[in-house]
Amino acid sequence: MKKILKISWRNIWRNKIRSSIIIIAIIIGIMGGIFSGAIRLAAEKQQFEEAVDNRTSHIQVHHPKFVANPEARFYIKNGIHIAKEIEAIDGVHSVSERSVVEGMVASANLNAGVRIKGVDALAEALTTNLNSLITEGTYFENEGRLPSIIIGEALANTINVSVGSRIVLTFQDIKGEMISASFVVEGLYKLSSRRFEESTVFIQSKNIYDLIGKEKHVTEIAVVIDDVDNYRLMAEKIRKAFPELDVKHWADMEPSLYYSLEFLNQNLIWMVGIIILGVSFGLFNTILMSVLERVKEFGILMAIGMKRTKVFLMIIFETIMLSFIAGVSGLILSYGMIRHFKVKGINLEGVGAEGLEDFGYATVLYLDLDPQMYFQIGIMVMVFAVLAAVYPAVKAIRLSPVEAVRSE
């Protein structure tokens, strides 16, 4: 057995150019597969992180009627208290209770429809990190004559305002009457979801209670949990505790994101697999060629008494070793590549990706890959390689020794 391994090993290097080419092809295949897989995954993950961390949180609680009719009158009774109770549930990291209403925002000469979120500055910072998204101005630090408002950069451009500008919010109070109030733009935030940025503004809840006509008015409780993966369980827990409220987790709120993530998680390995399968056809061709070239040699080995199984193994070992070298190098190089782009990120700007932002994709992607994937891909390369070698090997040993000896 050892000798057969040795012969196989040396056979690989008989045609150095051919072996090198196939090794390089496999390496490129692996790297290409991993790269394209990782970039898809990074795009989705980044979108997920932003959607969940900065927008929806893991779970949201509303009055059941508020979902279809986001009006001030459909508020959560005892909202502040309920928020506290939810926060006390084991596994909940933080909550932010908000007074959310639909309304209009108007600058000197332009206006737009927006969702106004009245928040507790600290709670909001803890749940959605809104404070860290501020690109200009400050995050609810000023105590001026007019109450502060934080709006998205995109909205600021649309209605042509900047930090320090005065704008007017118009919305319905708890009785359904229209009210207006002036705010001063204290800060601008930026998210890669332009849609969210254009349609969501933040004010402090203490400033909204008066206007809306109810103290401690809460229409929305955003919940962040300790372990994201437990979101279904935690949503169920909250639902059980407050059966009269509408409880949704992020997957309910962002179904398309959820499905594309699910799809990717299940199919990433196959996406990569298809690329590697393509390379395997090249490998198959090479092995077949190299076997057919050596028909005479195998025939003579069988003539002198080397068993067919050994000849078969010899050919299979060759492929296993070849693909092992290529697979391991490919994976190591891929690991390096992913590491590099994990730190540096890939800037998609300038390759026509500016438009991506409108769909909620970030323009700089930080690649990462589950270590398990390397392992799976490694196995896959070996399996495909062995499969590619089986037919040529069978062909070689089917040959009768006389035929081989006779074929001049």
Partner: protein
């Protein structure tokens, strides 16, 4: 004297072409231990076919082949592999050696297939290569050897398995005169000194007289059998 090979009414018919070809036609012949025989005859007379039959590489259409007491024409394919490995040494016209192994490794390889111990194996490989005059080429790969040297390694390998006899189908066909004579001299010497039974086929007038027995085939039948 002990009979090593005996054929009885040996027939091989090929049905490949337009009409069936009787490549070996009713051959009854014996080869004794220690004989050094040349199988000669014109091209297409059945020399290769005959050697392949007694080497267990091909199945006869009819008749029997006894190697000592075993009728190899009745052996199953699987058994034949083993039988060849243990009992018959082969030297072919070309492509004899594994290109990626050195001369010594090529000779050892067959002993390895026979599961011989490695120290014994090494010693024997070295002795045999010395015997065919390649003591200084042990660690050289076949591509660095001349055709004649390669055939000598093949002879050493054929001997390595301690076979009952050695078959060589046109071993000198690709060699120049000097190398051909040299190879035959080595074979003749091994035959004389070690009492090894050797059969070789040839067209080559230059080497026929090295053999002590010359069997002439014509149209698959023995037309002449001369002992010198």
């Amino acid at each position: 004297m002990k009979t090593v090979i005996e054929t009885k009414n040996l027939v091989k018919v090929y049905n490949g072409g337009v009409a069936p070809v009787k490549a070996v036609n009713n051959v009854n012949i014996k080869f004794n231990e220690g004989e050094f025989t040349a199988i000669v005859g014109p091209s297409g007379s059945g020399k290769t076919t005959f050697l392949n039959l007694i080497g267990g590489l091909d199945k006869p259409t009819d008749g029997e082949i006894f190697i000592e007491n075993v009728d190899i024409s009745k052996l199953k394919e699987r058994k034949l592999f083993d039988f060849r490995l243990k009992n018959i040494g082969f030297v072919f016209q070309s492509y004899n050696l594994i290109p990626v192994l050195t001369a010594k490794e090529n000779v050892s390889f067959i002993m390895l297939l026979q599961k011989m111990k490695s120290n014994e194996m090494n010693k024997r490989a070295e002795e045999l290569l010395q015997a065919v005059g390649l003591g200084d080429k042990m660690d050289v790969r076949p591509s660095k050897l001349s055709g004649g040297q390669q055939q000598r390694v093949a002879v050493a390998r054929a001997l390595a398995s301690k076979p009952k006899f050695i078959l060589a189908d046109e071993p000198t066909a690709n060699l120049d005169t000097q190398s051909a004579l040299n190879l035959l001299d080595i074979m003749a010497r091994l035959n004389k000194e070690e009492n090894i039974t050797l059969l070789f086929s040839t067209h080559d007038q230059r080497v026929i007289d090295r053999a002590r027995r010359v069997v002439t085939l014509i149209d698959g039948a023995v037309s002449e059998d001369v002992n010198k």
